[in-house]
């Protein structure tokens, strides 16, 4: 009887030991798997971010930069043209002023006023006659 008890205990110890050992092993494996999967997920996210970074191409701005350069050149030409036109404008103003002054001096002459008045009257009369020539 005593032998059987000892044997049974030994067997129990054996079985329990194996059971507990396997249980602990399983738990250890689960723990390790869980945390390794967390690390793997983080690694996968990193790899995805790297792939996204490497896959994103910089936009091509060359066409726009060429357009900008062309616009600037056009503006430069336009500004030169404006400068030229303004200069021409001033010259015209000066010439107009000079001719107006000459004209005023001539028109201030009594003889001019007399003939101008005669001219205006004859021109008016001529227009009247021509209106009758055209109407009929």
């Amino acid at each position: 009887m005593k032998k059987w008890i000892i044997t049974a205990v030994l067997v129990l110890i054996l079985v329990a030991g194996i059971a507990l050992g396997l249980s602990c092993q399983g738990r250890y494996a689960a723990l390790r798997s869980e945390y390794e999967s967390i690390v793997d997920a983080a690694q996968a996210d990193l790899d995805a971010a790297i792939a996204e970074r490497d896959g994103t191409a910089a936009p091509d701005t060359e066409a726009e930069e060429r357009r900008i350069a062309a616009e600037k050149q056009l503006i430069e030409h336009a500004q030169s043209e404006i400068d030229r036109l303004e200069s021409e404008n001033k010259e015209l103003d000066t010439e107009i002023e000079q001719v107006e002054q000459e004209l005023n001096e001539k028109q201030a002459d009594e003889g001019y006023a007399y003939y101008k008045a005669a001219y205006d009257s004859w021109a008016e009369g001529k227009a009247l006659v021509e209106s009758y020539l055209e109407d009929n």
């Binding site: 000892i6 030994l10 067997v11 054996l14 726009e64 015209l92 101008k116 009758y132």
Partner: protein, 374 residues
Amino acid sequence: MTHGRKGRLSLKAIWKTINIALVLLASAALLFCGYMYFQVETFYPDEYNARADQLRAQTQDILDEIDRQRQIQLEQQDYLSSELSSLGADGADLDRQISDLRAQNEAKTQRLEQLRQEAADAENMEQVAMEMRAEYAAAIRQLEEKINAGETDVKICYWTFDDGPSYYTQQVLDTCRENGIYVTFFTSREANSSAANDDPEVERTLLRGMITGGHAIGNHTFSHQYSKIAGNLYTKGIESFREMVQKQDEWIFECTGIKPDIFRFPGGSAWAFSSTVGKEAMLGALEELGYRWIDWSCDAYDNGIANPSAATVYANAVSQIKTLNIAMILSHDWNVNTVQGFARAVPALKDMGYIFLPLFSDSWTIDNTTILFS
């Protein structure tokens, strides 16, 4: 080993062996269990968490970098778009400025050309005025031809005033200006004595007023002395006649700067041609001096002793003129009734379709006027 009868192992030995094996196995199991338990108990997730955190941090850095790059690209795009838009607006603005400046310059160039033309005309205003006068005369000639051809309903009244300028000449000029009409003055320096023509400056002003008013001035001789007893026009020979024509010619030119080229005989051609000077001689003198002569077709009957009222002058004029498509009426601006009758007659004749024009030497009427009323 205790062997039983003849060398067989005893049960007790076998049982002992089994127990020993069980002990060994149980020990091993306990060791295994203990080892695994130790593994479990000593499992530290910190390393994994740290590694995962490190990886997440790297991932976040990369994501942040991606965001920054995108932001930079967006800003760059925005900048380029904004720059383009701004340049475009600037360019459009400059184009408008250029367009405005070109329009201004064109307008100023035209203005300059116009001013230069005016200055040139002003320099040659006399010539320009005389050219316009010639064009005016040509247009009147055309209209006369149309009237004679029956191609128009308009009619012409050549209203002439003889013997002036006089005290009332300015009233005639005023009436003409108010009505927009033109007349002809056959002037004589000494035809009548009045404040107007006694003062040469007053007469000069009136003669120039005739020109600036668009009227015609004719020569009616300097003296107007056609009396068969004491006159110097038709009784003292051709030289006296020529002298009187030439003096008046020079007087008109001196006052107006324009040489007259139409002439009316004081007393009319019938009176003149019946004189001793002779028609051919007088016509020769007039041609040499550059004149064409004319009588009249209608008469206001305002000369002489009759001295009709303004109403009578008006009635005379209207009743005679309306019988003609082109009428030439004789009157005298030294008669106040004539001047007033004229002012009444003008609107009435205009209503009848008459226009009042000055007489020029190339008028058809010069050669085709006969006295119908006198």
